[in-house]
């Protein structure tokens, strides 16, 4: 005799339908109970970010701070800040592009949280950490050197903002080669900026209100870029689900 006896137990369609309905209800109820707070979500996302880039950023700012302390000439100070600011912004590029390079979008798309939520959380974390680092840098630089906060804002924050705008435009641009493109554009921007700040006639021709206007415009455009990118993120970061 056959030892393993095939036994068919018929499953009624009504019972299956009831089970499907009960399963959906249980899922919704379970999600309601287990939803996490914003702080918990941020903490969860922070665990997926490599902290080494923040360390490198901090070291860069520390190095710049020490260089500014040692430098005498305004010319060199401007050049140092002009190069350091875009470099500071581009150091975080690998982390922003990590998901694309690792083809992780499909998995992220299918997880509980949307890509928009995940990117928003990571942007918040990056912005928070950069704010902390830059505050420490501004405080350190203004104490150690003769540079005023206004000079730091125009010569560091302005190129930093523009670099961030370039990076976010490329990130949200949807092209596969956007990481290389953003690095290229940042390099071009750095060259242009160094030319501007080192050209005395151009630099001196720009008055304080104009610098402030540039700074405000760059900050506003950065905010607009991030906001627009977050709104449209699904359309260009969404991977084609493989189950379809």
């Amino acid at each position: 005799m056959k030892y393993r006896i095939p036994v068919e137990i018929s499953a009624g369609e009504d019972a299956i339908q009831k089970t499907i309905a009960a399963s959906k209800a249980a899922f919704v109820a379970g999600e309601a109970v287990q939803s996490i707070s914003s702080a918990e979500f941020l903490y969860q996302q922070s665990r997926y970010i490599r902290k080494c880039w923040w360390m490198v950023q901090a070291l860069l700012l520390l190095g710049v701070c020490l260089m500014l302390h040692a430098l005498e000439s305004d010319y060199l100070v401007r050049r140092t800040l002009g190069i350091a600011a875009p470099l500071f912004a581009t150091l975080i590029l690998p982390e922003f592009w990590k998901n694309r390079n690792c083809d992780a979008m499909e998995v992220e798309k299918t997880t509980l949280f949307s890509i928009r939520q995940i990117y928003a959380a990571r942007l918040t974390l990056f912005a928070g950490m950069d704010l902390l680092l830059l505050t420490a840098f501004f405080l350190g630089a203004s104490l150690l050197t003769q540079i005023t906060v206004f000079e730091l804002m125009t010569q560091f924050l302005l190129p930093f903002n523009v670099t961030c705008c370039i990076c976010f435009r490329c990130l949200y641009g949807g092209r596969n080669s956007s990481e290389a493109l953003s690095i290229l554009l940042c390099a071009i921007w750095t060259g242009l900026w160094v030319l501007v700040v080192l050209h005395e006639t151009i630099y001196d021709a720009i008055s304080v209100p104009m610098w402030m206007a540039f700074l405000a415009t760059s900050a506003a455009y950065l905010g607009y870029t991030v906001r627009r990118g977050q709104q449209n993120i699904i359309t260009f970061l969404e991977a084609k689900p493989s189950w379809n």
Binding site: V7, S10, A11, T19, A22, G30, W243
Partner: protein, 172 residues
């Protein structure tokens, strides 16, 4: 990445079609398992529904490492052990519909069921998984949280007892 992984990801994302596909995929095997454990079609259907409800209640924290079917068996085994302790006799009308010419296998099934009911619970659990659900011995060990040697011993012991209950020679 197995097909269940993507299905579970879709379910975690709240995809109703994925939930339906998942239930339809595992409902028959779980029903068969619960039917052998509980011996009553209505109770077995209730038990299967409860298995899915328990699974979906904690889906957001579920980590897909092995086979999801084994995880469902664990839930079902615990549920049957905790909620349906009293073994009952299987009424004949509960047997699945079969054509007349298959009466002999039906009788055999009835005998097997009666023999199964006589087994001690721990042997019956292993027997159902191994002989009727065709789960591998290693997986049974994981599902029941016992060692592989104990699973092998229980299968061997169950074979001996079933042979006695069925009035057969030593089973292969």
């Amino acid at each position: 990445m197995d097909s269940d992984f993507l299905l579970i990801c879709r379910m975690k994302n709240g995809d109703d079609a994925a939930i339906e596909a998942f239930v339809r995929k595992y409902y028959p095997v779980l029903l068969r398992y619960c039917h052998f454990r509980i011996k009553n079609q209505a109770d077995a259907e209730d038990a299967v529904q409860e298995v899915f409800v328990r699974f979906f209640s904690t889906l957001s924290v579920y980590q897909h490492y092995g086979k999801v079917q084994n995880y469902l068996y664990v839930i079902a085994a615990n549920l049957c052990r905790d909620s349906y302790r009293k073994p009952g006799e299987l009424p004949e009308e509960e047997l699945p519909e079969s054509p007349v010419e298959e009466m002999e296998p039906v009788n055999l099934r009835l005998d097997v069921r009666e023999a199964l009911a006589k087994l001690p619970p721990e042997l019956r659990e292993v027997t159902i998984l191994f002989f009727f659900q065709e789960v591998k011995q290693k997986e049974i060990a994981k599902i029941l949280g016992i060692g592989l040697p104990l699973v092998k011993y229980r299968i061997k012991r169950a074979k001996e007892l079933l042979a006695v209950y069925l009035g057969m020679e030593e089973m292969p």
